[in-house]
């Protein structure tokens, strides 16, 4: 079975047919995606399936990864945090390392990038590549995956000197967009329905992974899977569980996440979560190793309700993942979660631990209703949050860039 056939099975034949027709307008186009890492992180997770899918659609797509140095990655980590609002800026030496790595990679990739008709540069790390392609003939697109709505102004001013030169930019939500002297498209992120984090799993495997993480599959289960980060409000989830517990004595909570090993704040949050959980035998805390996607998948499938009670959130990929597994999601009333969770349809938005507890009770009170909402959530994910939708929008963007700036483009 071809890759497209496999996607047609999960996303729908009509969706794949639409992709074929759009891709037909770009047949053979040379498309290069450039990012900073080959594994780990949401960008690599999406590019890994996007490239073969694009190739099968007839595009000459390839993926290039930056060669970086520890100084470079230290600088880009600072930049990343600063764009997301942290008041911090790399010093001149760090910026020199950033520019040198970009210059070195530009030299290494000269042929490939000069030859490309479309170059997608993902996030700030490779943004400065464009400086070295003054005679480029292809369309260069800067794809910003992070919330740039309230950046540190020093860092944004610096980054803007690079990204202003692109032909277009792409942001995940309208609220994340910064004013730039070119068209800024809005394309939400997506999940890969065939990847380890989202593909179907045998019931037995789901059961065994859940049990290994302490869950009793005969009792109600709520799960939040997120990095250990204050903004994900894990202590609020424990508070919600405790409010609901007297009404649902069988209730169990699993908080699972990664990122604690290489993030000092993550270590602190994980410690606080464990302390708050205390010796409650029905609260389980799992610090997952990076890339343990099958476990994430199984824990979401094993849950009755997926929770993402964030206090601040860009686009909630875990919300889309929960939907895809047919689970209603109780989400914090913030950021992109507001666009995903629709009260009484795909889950509930909540603004407090009390609100989350109420919705946990409500959803666990009526199995049939919970199941109906889960089915609706899955269909919503199929239509709105799968890789196929994101690829369709990338293809549309490429056709639009190729054919002009008009509002209506007849592409025949």
């Amino acid at each position: 079975m071809t890759l497209l056939e496999r996607y047609a099975e999960v996303a729908g034949r009509d969706v794949v047919e639409h992709l074929r027709q759009l891709a037909g307008l770009l047949k053979g186009a040379r498309v290069v995606h450039v990012n900073a890492t080959a594994t780990g992180g949401g960008v690599a997770e999406i590019l890994a399936p996007l490239i073969p899918l694009s190739r099968e659609l007839g595009l000459d797509a390839r993926w290039e990864v930056l060669d970086g140095t520890p100084e470079f990655f230290a600088c880009t980590k600072l930049m990343h945090n600063a764009i997301q609002g942290k008041r911090a800026a790399p010093d001149e030496q760090a910026l020199r390392a950033y520019e040198e790595v970009n210059a070195g990679n530009a030299a290494r990739l000269t042929g490939v990038l000069n030859d490309a008709e479309f170059v997608f540069v993902h996030d700030p790390q490779p943004a400065a590549l464009i400086r070295h392609f003054s005679k480029r003939s292809g369309h260069w697109i800067w794809r910003c995956h992070i919330d740039a709505s309230h950046p540190d102004s020093r860092v944004w001013r610096y980054l803007q000197t690079h990204v202003a030169g692109y032909d277009a930019s792409v942001f995940s939500l309208p609220a994340f967009v910064r004013a730039l002297p070119h068209r800024s498209y809005v394309i939400p992120p997506a999940i890969d329905p065939l990847g380890d984090k989202n593909r179907d799993l045998p019931d037995e495997q789901v059961r065994s992974i859940c049990e290994r993480n302490g869950l009793d599959m005969n009792r109600p289960r709520i799960v939040q899977i997120s990095r250990f980060d204050w903004f994900k409000d894990p202590l609020g989830v424990i508070a919600a569980y405790r409010i609901a517990k007297p009404f649902l004595p069988e209730l169990q909570l699993l908080l699972a996440g990664g990122g604690a090993s290489d993030d000092p704040e993550g270590v602190e949050v994980l410690r606080a979560v464990r302390e708050e959980a205390g010796d409650d035998p029905d609260i389980h805390v799992a610090d997952l190793p990076p890339g343990d996607n099958v476990t994430v998948n199984a824990l979401q499938r094993g849950a009755d309700i997926v929770v993402q009670k964030s206090l601040r959130e860009g686009f909630g990929l875990t919300v889309a993942e929960g939907f895809w597994k047919g689970r209603p999601v109780i989400g914090g009333d913030t950021g992109g979660i507001r666009l995903q969770v629709v009260d009484h349809h795909t889950g509930f938005l909540v603004a407090s631990a009390e609100g989350a507890a109420l919705r946990i009770r409500y959803l666990l009170h009526d199995d049939a209703r919970r199941q109906r909402m889960g089915e609706k959530a899955r269909e919503f994910a199929r239509r709105s949050f799968l890789l196929t939708r994101q690829l369709r929008e990338y293809l549309t963007l490429m056709v639009a860039l190729q054919r002009g700036a008009e509002e209506r483009i007849g592409a025949d």
């Binding site: 009509d14 309208p174 967009v177 004013a179 498209y185 394309i187 349809h345 509002e407 483009i409």
Partner: protein, 217 residues
């Protein structure tokens, strides 16, 4: 020959937001026409839940973020198909908001919990490769058409065509009087309150009912 086209719509940010009614008014005044198009029409391409209460993004935002039912109702009733062009539609939107402010200055003090983001769109259209030579052949194609095709031919056409009709009806006009009842039935379909999947079923049923010889769907 009816040439079935398909389309793909993509959103472009304008970096303009509104947090209050005055900012909404300013944004409507300053936005390009394709932004009005986006906020009135392209919501139909997105998945909906339950009944659609408010027919455009402006009305929905006023209802859900400002909680101003009266202004929301007045904005919701504006039918974009009834306007010869988007500038006239823009004028009506602005007049409606301004007239509410004139009678209720309290509106100026309200602040939304979530801002309104002005978006504009680009629409790429292309030949789907499907063709129909007769109304019966078109009827047979309908159940297989993508929702984007239906959007393009049945909804977007009202803005494209000078006479404001849908593409199916305009094409059916080339046939004899026997298809007149079908054209009238198509004109009576109110697509604003259902999903495009429901519209596909409704269209297929309508064609089937009015074309003798087609099996009942």
């Amino acid at each position: 020959m009816f040439v079935v086209r398909d389309c793909a719509v993509i959103a472009i940010a304008t970096a303009r937001q509104a947090n209050t009614v005055s900012e909404l008014l300013d944004g409507i005044a300053a936005s390009p026409p394709e932004s009005l198009y986006y906020h009135f029409w392209t919501g139909l391409l997105q998945m909906r839940f339950g009944e659609r209460e408010y027919n455009n993004d402006f009305a929905g935002w006023v209802a859900h973020q400002l909680h101003e039912r009266r202004l929301a109702e007045r904005l919701a009733v504006i039918d974009p198909t009834g306007f010869p062009d988007l500038e006239v539609l823009r004028g009506t939107l602005m007049d409606t908001i301004q007239s509410e402010i004139d009678v209720d200055a309290r509106l100026l003090w309200l602040r939304a919990t979530t801002p309104f983001d002005f978006i504009r769109s680009q629409i790429v259209t292309f030949d789907s490769g499907r063709r129909a030579r007769t109304p019966e052949e078109l009827a047979a194609l309908l159940p297989e058409l993508s929702v984007e095709s239906l959007f393009y031919h049945f909804i977007d056409a009202r803005r494209r065509e000078p006479l404001g009709g849908d593409d199916f009806s305009l094409w059916l006009n080339n046939f004899d009087h026997a298809v007149r009842p079908l054209i009238d039935a198509l004109a009576a379909i109110d697509y604003y309150f259902g999903s495009l999947e429901e519209l596909r079923t409704t269209l297929a049923r309508t064609f089937s009912r009015h074309l003798p010889g087609l099996e009942s769907l």
